[in-house]
Point group: C2
Chain length 295, copies 2
């Protein structure tokens, strides 16, 4: 990624869903040349209207890019886009930086890093937290693992999308950090749901309970932001149940591979599995409250 001004720099962007579209928009705003590929072309239209170039495949997108950002759905999507004869690494230029911002498997990030090195490319695994609002407002937390020199070179791009960009270590460390984030959320969400279910069942006014417990030792982002939605019966997705289950499974497998037992996470994952089996996988994560309401 040797070009020094945005207008000389070609960025590839694979995955223009809700998150990706906002994030890519910030790169266009800053004057970068953008090449985009997405499974569903319609979702890329807002970017194409603003001057981005449409590509029919990862293989078509990759060759001229100085850096390529991917933010797709599942680890198997990351694998398909990055690896193999039709992937970004096989078709990218030497010296290019591949930045995967999907929440994905740490061990896959390591494999991609090794495959990229064999083709003289560098990689970052840089998953985010902050949701659709954070993406829109360029206020994401970006947790970065991978090649240090790639981090330094790509920092201007990451700073356009996030407000809290932290380098966490070698390839896989960005994904491991995101797993820490999801692990803390998983058991914490049980605590929030159970506190609110207890409040309601014991005849308290849960809103008044929040006045007492919201700002002290029980306080959390989930309690402040999601408990009111639970109580209002608003289970609209900020973050999908199905995606959270994916993340928790990655964390559990990864922990097991390290010989680490995480019973709180395992219990939370089981409860979310039940929620999904009940038909709520497209709800937001606060819908865990449904299980406690007998809903």
């Amino acid at each position: 990624m040797n070009a020094v001004t945005p207008s000389d720099t070609v960025i590839g962007f694979v995955g223009t869903g809700v998150m990706g579209c906002s994030m890519a928009g910030h790169l266009l705003d800053a004057g970068y040349q953008l090449r985009v590929f997405n499974r569903t072309r319609a979702k890329a239209e807002p970017l194409l209207e603003r001057g981005a170039t449409w590509c029919e495949s990862a293989a078509e997108l990759a060759p001229p890019c100085h850096a390529i950002i991917t933010i797709v759905g599942f680890p198997q999507d990351v694998e398909q886009v990055c690896l193999g004869d039709e992937g970004l690494i096989a078709n990218g230029a030497a010296g290019a930086i591949l930045i995967d911002m999907t929440t994905s498997r740490p061990d896959l990030a390591v494999r991609i890093n090794e495959a990229a090195h064999a083709r003289e490319m560098l990689t970052l695994d840089a998953p985010v937290s902050g949701g659709d609002v954070g993406a829109r407002e360029a206020r994401l937390s970006i947790m970065v693992g991978g090649d240090r020199e790639a981090f330094d070179a790509a920092r201007p791009l990451l700073d356009l999308m996030g407000a809290n960009v932290v380098y966490q270590g070698v390839a896989g460390c960005g994904q491991h950090t995101k797993m820490c984030n999801q692990i803390a959320i998983a058991a914490g969400m049980m605590g929030v749901c159970e506190a609110m279910a207890y409040a309601r069942q014991s005849g308290l006014d849960p809103e008044t309970v929040l006045q007492s417990i919201g700002s002290g030792a029980a306080g959390s982002w989930s309690l402040s932001n999601l408990a009111p939605r639970m109580l209002a019966g608003n289970f609209d997705p900020g973050f999908y149940v199905k995606h959270f289950i994916k993340d928790m499974r990655i964390a559990i497998e990864s922990a097991q591979a390290m010989g680490l037992d995480l019973p709180g996470l395992e219990l939370a994952e089981k409860l979310y599995e039940k929620l999904a089996a009940d038909g709520h996988e497209d709800d937001g994560t606060q819908a865990l409250f449904r299980l406690y309401e007998g809903d």
Copy 2:
């Protein structure tokens, strides 16, 4: 509690441990007459030196008091101090207000309320959160159940000890609210411990991980305040493991009596039981991290 100026008002205070001593001190500062009783007299000395009157028993303390505050260890201590021939209710004056600030059983608060009414006394169950620092700085959250007119009359006293004083409903509602607080903390603490254990096991620098995850959707009071202590191996008690176990048991029994299943709370309680069985019941609650470190 008819007297209108502090110097005309006699307050009884039972339980002058770390919390009670700070709280009673604020009442002395405001000019109230204070009568104190504690199992261990030495712990009441700082208050006696400042003009409080020592009493040898609850029965001796009660008769002249307009209001009596109790903050003792366990529900059985509350029961012993309040009920029975030698207790505060049998020996207190008609019109007096009994305020139990111990974290105790909601159903016991109801029984005490009924016993007090039979003697023309009123009661509040008003457990606190905020720890020794909150007590010292008069910044406690005070969760109040009981007789509404007693709350209005005792409000000036409560405001001297707390910064967030909220009336939650009839007798037992203060204790139920405190249970909500402890329930949210219980599963949340598993999340914090598991996130930090995963961070360490995966080779990350946990302090750097906190930079990424501390202020977003995974953020919580426990993550900000207790995770750094865990990582430093500092398990000194802010809040004792043994007291937290007591609280969780009350919450579990109370939930079961309401037909409510709280699997996250039950798992957390089991883990804390194991921690106590390993000899760590006098550690602070952040010592749950020991289980994940194989400590």
